[in-house]
Symmetry: C4
Subunit: 215 residues, 4 copies
Amino acid sequence: MCELGRPKETCISAPQELSNGGGIDTGRTISFSDAVIAIAITLLALDLKVPQLPESSVAAELPSALLELWPNLYSFVLSFWIIGSYWLAHHRISRLVGAYDRRMQLINLLFLMWIVLMPFSTALVGEYEHQQLPVVIYAVHNILTSLTLTWLWRHAIRDSRLVEANLDPSLVRYSNFRSLVVQGVFLLSIGISFISVDAARLSWVLIWPLTGLVL
Amino acid sequence: MCELGRPKETCISAPQELSNGGGIDTGRTISFSDAVIAIAITLLALDLKVPQLPESSVAAELPSALLELWPNLYSFVLSFWIIGSYWLAHHRISRLVGAYDRRMQLINLLFLMWIVLMPFSTALVGEYEHQQLPVVIYAVHNILTSLTLTWLWRHAIRDSRLVEANLDPSLVRYSNFRSLVVQGVFLLSIGISFISVDAARLSWVLIWPLTGLVL
Amino acid sequence: MCELGRPKETCISAPQELSNGGGIDTGRTISFSDAVIAIAITLLALDLKVPQLPESSVAAELPSALLELWPNLYSFVLSFWIIGSYWLAHHRISRLVGAYDRRMQLINLLFLMWIVLMPFSTALVGEYEHQQLPVVIYAVHNILTSLTLTWLWRHAIRDSRLVEANLDPSLVRYSNFRSLVVQGVFLLSIGISFISVDAARLSWVLIWPLTGLVL
Amino acid sequence: MCELGRPKETCISAPQELSNGGGIDTGRTISFSDAVIAIAITLLALDLKVPQLPESSVAAELPSALLELWPNLYSFVLSFWIIGSYWLAHHRISRLVGAYDRRMQLINLLFLMWIVLMPFSTALVGEYEHQQLPVVIYAVHNILTSLTLTWLWRHAIRDSRLVEANLDPSLVRYSNFRSLVVQGVFLLSIGISFISVDAARLSWVLIWPLTGLVL
């Protein structure tokens, strides 16, 4: 958009926000991200639908109808804590990031896109819990989400203008380690799913003890 | 993850956020919690569905069809004020908490998980208002929510780094008292539900006069 | 809860937040209210459902199926601007309020409850646009919402601790006037609905020219 | 509302917020807008529904049932990035705006109304991806959204009280240029839709390379 020989003042290009005096307002990007994550984590519960039973048989069938929601409840709880962990990771990263350039805005939007799709993948696994395909989709979805967060993080620490001056190295190590665990567990679960779909789904809970995030 | 003999600087562990210079940003945790509670309280209304009637009989049947929504409206209003009270309690606690450590983040997420599930339990009671099982589920759900809030509170006041210096003792007493009332009323209602399900549901409104939260 | 003769320090009562050093954090109440209003205003659009047509007749029937959404679109647009106006009014009030006491918190929650129910009333009018009952419900719903906002406002200005010191009298006059217009128009529309339901629905748009809120 | 001869102090009119000492609180308008945009961008995913298959044929039919979601996924991703771009544009504008007057509040609400309707248009295109009408509706919808954002921007820069003193001219040029690209691409796609509906839908992705917003 800026041809050669054209005076620089008249060329039109996506502004390099950072060079124009100090980064896009970080606070707004963070609160927008928080809102999107908060909505996605709340919409997870929409997949838990109250069973519709004919009035005559409610008393007899309600307990078993509620028990049938078990796989949906399992994937709800799992996804709630996975999104919750992503939020904590995003939170941890944001504390170290002093400014957002345009590319970080776009990587952050990509991360939010995966988060927004999470209720779909969750509902898919909850509905067809014994099928391999949903389990693989869920695992790939989470690997992509985690890789995007790693990308966001790597982009920020590569550029000294974007991170806080005194970056705590133990926090950098932990963030890298945590990403590898998440990606590793989900990659492994794809392999396991060829042997047992149920074992693959259960293997996902390994994330928390491995990253030390237990109550 | 930190074997013996390994130099401390290279071991990887979930960072003790607090020791690394002053706690995770409290504001962001609070605004994330507020967003989740705000969404959950708004989604409650999704259970109130406009009745679908054939065009020929709308005029005749609409009034009675709307009246049939009464139990759903009752549980909507009840849950709206219960979540509203939890928000006020969370608000009250947050004002006294100066920092969030990692465990508080996790307890807070657990609290939010119960909040996110509230529209489901509400819809269940609204749909099967004369069944005992939904009433018991709703009561247990609220006891767990209130206990988690108590846990959050107890964890904070146990650690002087997490609370504001000049903790008002009357506020501490009121928070403890309020939790006991909520847990007591819901526990009692489980007992009542063995005699009368309707009385159990009605007993829940006792929370407000007992905690002095009336307009 | 505080019997006579009991030492004041040990009695348990809902804390008079204000007396304990300066009001509940106003910012958090406002941002919670904003989130609830934002969600309700966005959920309005959920009532606009894409028509489901058999594949063979899509090309022929889609235009008329979309035109049939017209009453839903009318009530969506109307409710969007009504909630938008409530938000502006809430915004206007909040700028003058320096602190929230407990009663204001409860009145504010009541106001939010009416807002949260707005998508239901909107869908009801959109679905049965020629019936009197939904029109009356919608009008009563809005009168209650506006009265609650007036209550919030009156409670705040009655107590000098709650409002900013230099209260602009023209803003007070405008807020009172605006409330009366909203309540008056909706009250009038109930009367009109006995003659013509369609005229009653159309009369609601008078709010904007009468309150001077036009682009 | 202010008749001639009436003393100015007693006339009632919508307050000229700005003249009464410095603009409506900009922060609240921005965070309300962010919340609405965040909710709308998240609700986009509600259109991706898990296919319901009979248990006997799940294994065989799930892959093809998921592939049939492809047009819905395409319009989800497209709309996600379009709303994301609007958010970035709104963000860019807001950084330069120091105050909101009443007219800007109303233009901003109009912009939010288009955003709130975006999930509907998205679902329409996703459902009937080979029909011309949904494609034209989607294009017109986006032209109106972009024009409203231009209006907001033009209104702000026309009034020196509303913008920051040192307005960066390259940012003004970029904002104008970006709006023209968005409006141009969607206008062009309406023309293309008379020849090929699929080509029209595909032409929308031109927005990103043309505005230089690529990762």
